[in-house]
Symmetry: C2
Subunit: 480 residues, 2 copies
C-alpha cells in the first residue's frame, strides 16, 4: 500500500471537535466494533467489539459471584397479562415493546412481548419458589439481550436490541433490600472506575427519572468527552410493590406470611459507548489495559531481514506470560499497522527491528500519550506490566480531571444556561424537590436531573429554578 | 424432619423402569434444574441447571478459541425478506418461527421473525465484510437463544426457546469448508466423551434428515438409558449455496471473483437432557465430575459436637485447592442432605463426624456406584482428585457398555422390528440409499435413520427394507 493511501486511512476519521457524533460513528465502524444490521436499530457486534464485552462480562460476573449471586435464564417472552400485573411497570414499558402475535402459522390467543426487562418473569418465578424465610434471600442474575422499540438509535448507546445483565433479588426485610441496592451500585462503580477507568458520580434518581415500578432508583453517571452525561448503570429498590402485585410471600420464623422486598439492577453494552467517548481521540479508540482484548501488539520492523521474526516471536512468548499479546507479521507496511492498532485502541505497541536487536532493545509506544519508551530486552517482562498499570491509572486520572473541569455550579437559571451554552458538562445546582422545576429546566436548558449525589453539599440556599428553599443538590446535564 | 418424611422425599421419584418419561420430569424438577414458565414450551433455567450450562459453555468456548474462532453477536430478529433468500432454508424454518408484527404501538411494514437459527444474518453480514481472499477464512461463533415454535415440548429436549451456540464460517475453498465441518464435529464429540462422559457415534445424515439448506449434515448420536437416540450436535457443510443466494464473493489472488464456501454447527441446552438420561438413576441425577458445578459436598455428622464444624471447614479449605467443594452445615438431618445431593448428582460426598475425627479419617461416598471409601485426613488432598477422575472414567465406560449392549444388527425388517419391540437401541442395518425405504422404515418401525457412520461395515449385502443391493450401513433408532 502506498504512503498516500496509508495517510488517507488515518485521515478518514472526522476530528472530534469538528463533529463529535460523526467521530463516534467513524470510530465504531473503523475500529470494527459493530456493523449495521438489516433490522432497524439493531447492531451486529463484531469480534473486536464482542471481545470487549466478554471482558466486561467476565469481570462483572466474577464480582456477582463473589457477592453470592447465581446466574439463571428466564424466557425471552412475556405474556401480555403478566406484563400488566404491576401498574407503573406496564405503563413505563408497554409503549416500547415488540409484540409477537404469531407462532408457526397460527395466531396466538395472547400476544407475547419480547422482554424489555424481566421483573415480571422473575416475580412470577419467585411467587412459586419462595415459601419460607429459609428460602431467602434469592440473589439471581441473568445475562441476555432485551428489546426496546426506540425511535432514534445509535450503536451501543441506544439500540433496539442490546446485551445486558439484570440482577433480581428478593429479601426478607426492607433493610436488606436497601443494602443490596446500594451494594450492587457500588459493584457497578467499582467496575467503571477500576476496570473501565471511567469516574462516576453515585446518587439517587428523582421520582421523575426513576425506573417504572421502583420505589427508588440509584445511578452512576459519567461525563463523555463532549460534556454530555451518560447513565452507566442503575440499581432499583422495589420495596414490596412487585411482591404485592405478584403475591410473593414467605412464612417468617413465627409462621406469619410476609411480603418479600425486591431489587433489580442492570448494566448494558452501552458501557462500550462510554469507553469510546471517555477515552477516545482523533486517532480512534483508547482502551484501558484491564479491559483491552489485546494489551500489547508486536510489530516487527523490516521483518524480511534475518532474525527479526524469530526475535519478535521469542518476545511474544515471553510477554504472553504477563500480558495479552499479539503479533502482526502480515505483509502490510508498519505505518499502516500503527494506524490500525491505534484505531483499535491497543494500549501498547512494541516495535522490534534489526537495529533494536543489535542494541538488545525494543521500542514501546503508549497509545494514551504516545510516549516512546526504549527498553532492554531483559527488562521487557518486568516493564510491560508496570507500563500497562500506569496507562490504566493515567486514563482514570485524566478522565477524572476532565470530569472536574467540566463540572460547574449554578445558583440561578442565568448561570445554568450560560454554562450549558458555553461548554456543557455537569451542572451542580440546588433543587426544591418539585417536579415542575425539573420539567421547566428540561424545557429551558434541555438538561435533565442526572442524580441527587450521595455526597450532598449546599451550593446555594434556594432552588436554581423557582427560588424556593432548596432541598437537594442535584447534578444536571444533557444526556445520551 | 422425621425419618419417614425423609424416606418419602427419596421415594418421590418415579422409578425409571416404571415410567421413564415421568422419571425424567421428576429429576428435572427435584434436582431444581428448571421450572416451567408462563409461556407455553419455555423454561426457567434455575441456578443449578444454569451452572451446568455455564460449565459446558466454558469448556466448549475454550475449544472454539483454541481452534481460532471468534465470538460475535447478531440481532435476534430476521426480516421476512432476508429469511426467504435461500429457498430450502426458508421452507425448513418458516413453519416454526415466531413472528413480531408490532413494535411499540405501530404495526411493522415488514414482519420480523425471532431467529430460529442465524445463517441468513451471518450471510448478510459476510456479504458486506468479505471482499478479498485476505479476509478469509471467517471463523465466527455466537452464544444466544433461539426460538422454534414446537408443538410438543419437554424441558431441555425440545423447548420453544433454547440456549445454544451457532458457529458460522466462510472459506475460500470447498476443501477447507469440508475440513472445518469435520473438525467441529470432532470438537463436539470430544466435549461429549471427555467432559460429559457420553459416548457418541459420528456420521453423516441422510438427505432426508439433513439441515434445511445444507449440502451435507454431520451428526453425533448418543443413546439414552431407555434406548432412544438423541442427536447431540450437528455440523453442516453448505457448499456455496448460501453464498450464491446472498452473493458472498471474494477476489482471489488473481483478482477473479469466487463464491465462498460455508459451514455452520450447533450444540444446545439439550445436552443437559442427555446428561440426565445417560447417567441418571432412581435416586436422581449423576453428574460427571468435569461438568459438575459442585464436585464434592461435605456433610458434617453430629455437627453440634465440639470440633466437628471446625474440622469440616478445615477440610473444605484444603480440598478447595483440588476440587469444586461445598459444605452443608444447615440444620437439616444428614439423611435428608444425602438424598438432596444424590438427587443433584454431586459426584462425591464427604462425611466427617466425631468418630472420624477420633480416627483421623473421613468417609467418601461415590454417587455413581455408592462405594464408601475411608480415607485418612492426610491423604484426602491426593485421593479426592484420583477418585473424581475414576468416576469420570467409569461413567464413560459404563455408558459405552450400555451403548454396545443396546446396539444390534438387523438383516431384514422382521429382525429390525423384533429388536425395537423388545428393547429399543441402535439398529445397524444396510440401506439402498432410497428415500422410499427410509419413509417406509419410519412408517413400519417408528425409527429414523440416525446417521451413516464414518466407520462403515458391511453387515449384509442387501437393503434391510427393499432387498436391493446395499449402499451404506446406517444407524437407525427411535429418537428424542
Amino acid at each position: 500500500m502506498s504512503k498516500e493511501k496509508e495517510k488517507k486511512l488515518v485521515e478518514a476519521i472526522t476530528p472530534m471537535d469538528e463533529d463529535f457524533a460523526q467521530w463516534y460513528t467513524d470510530v465504531v465502524k473503523k475500529a470494527e466494533l459493530v456493523d449495521y444490521a438489516s433490522v432497524r436499530g439493531c447492531m451486529v457486534i463484531r469480534p473486536y467489539g464482542y471481545a470487549i464485552w466478554e471482558n466486561i462480562q467476565k469481570n462483572l460476573d466474577a464480582m456477582f459471584k463473589e457477592t453470592g449471586h447465581e446466574n439463571v435464564y428466564m424466557p425471552m417472552f412475556i405474556p401480555e397479562s403478566l406484563l400488566q400485573k404491576e401498574a407503573d411497570h406496564v405503563e413505563g414499558f408497554a409503549p416500547e415493546v415488540a409484540w409477537v402475535t404469531h407462532g408457526g402459522n397460527q395466531e396466538l390467543t395472547e400476544r407475547l412481548c419480547v422482554r424489555p426487562t424481566s421483573e415480571t418473569l422473575f416475580c412470577d418465578h419467585y411467587s412459586k419458589i419462595i415459601q419460607s424465610y429459609k428460602d431467602l434471600p434469592k440473589l439471581y442474575n441473568q445475562w441476555c439481550s432485551v428489546v426496546r422499540w426506540e425511535k432514534t438509535t445509535r450503536p451501543f448507546l441506544r439500540t433496539t436490541e442490546f446485551l445486558w445483565q439484570e440482577g433480581h433479588t428478593a429479601h426478607a426485610t426492607a433493610e436488606e433490600a436497601q443494602e443490596e441496592t446500594i451494594k450492587m451500585l457500588n459493584v457497578y462503580a467499582r467496575l467503571c472506575e477500576e476496570y473501565l477507568a471511567i469516574p462516576v458520580v453515585k446518587g439517587r434518581k428523582t421520582d421523575k427519572e426513576k425506573f417504572a415500578g421502583a420505589e427508588a432508583t440509584y445511578t452512576i453517571e459519567s461525563l463523555m468527552h463532549d460534556g454530555k452525561a451518560l447513565q452507566c448503570g442503575t440499581s432499583h429498590n422495589f420495596g414490596d410493590g412487585f411482591a404485592k402485585a405478584f403475591n410473593i410471600q414467605y412464612a417468617d420464623k413465627n409462621g406469619k406470611l410476609q411480603y418479600v422486598h425486591q431489587t433489580s439492577w442492570g448494566m448494558t453494552t452501552r458501557l462500550i459507548g462510554a469507553l469510546i467517548m471517555v477515552h477516545g481521540d482523533d486517532s480512534g479508540l483508547v482502551l484501558p489495559p484491564k479491559i483491552a482484548p489485546t494489551q500489547l501488539m508486536i510489530i516487527p520492523i523490516a521483518q524480511h531481514k534475518a532474525g527479526v521474526l524469530e526475535k519478535a516471536a521469542e518476545i511474544k512468548d515471553t510477554l504472553s506470560k504477563v500480558a495479552r499479546v499479539k503479533m502482526d507479521n502480515s505483509d502490510k507496511m508498519p505505518g499502516w499497522k500503527f494506524s490500525e492498532y491505534e484505531m483499535k485502541g491497543i494500549p501498547l505497541r512494541l516495535e522490534i527491528g534489526p537495529k533494536d536487536i543489535e542494541n538488545n532493545q525494543a521500542v514501546l509506544v503508549r497509545r494514551d500519550n504516545r510516549e516512546k519508551i526504549v527498553v532492554s530486552l531483559e527488562e521487557l517482562e518486568s516493564k510491560v506490566p508496570e507500563i500497562l498499570e500506569d496507562i490504566q491509572r493515567s486514563l482514570l486520572e485524566k478522565a477524572r480531571t476532565a470530569q472536574i473541569t467540566k463540572t460547574s455550579i449554578a445558583a440561578n437559571m442565568e448561570e445554568f444556561n450560560k454554562i450549558l451554552d458555553s461548554k456543557l458538562g455537569f451542572v451542580k445546582a440546588m433543587w426544591c424537590g418539585d417536579r415542575a422545576c425539573e420539567d421547566s429546566i428540561k424545557e429551558a436548558a434541555g438538561a435533565t436531573s442526572r442524580c441527587m449525589p450521595f455526597e450532598q453539599e449546599s451550593v446555594a440556599d434556594t432552588c436554581v429554578c423557582c427560588g424556593k428553599p432548596a432541598k437537594k443538590l442535584v447534578y444536571w446535564g444533557r444526556a445520551y
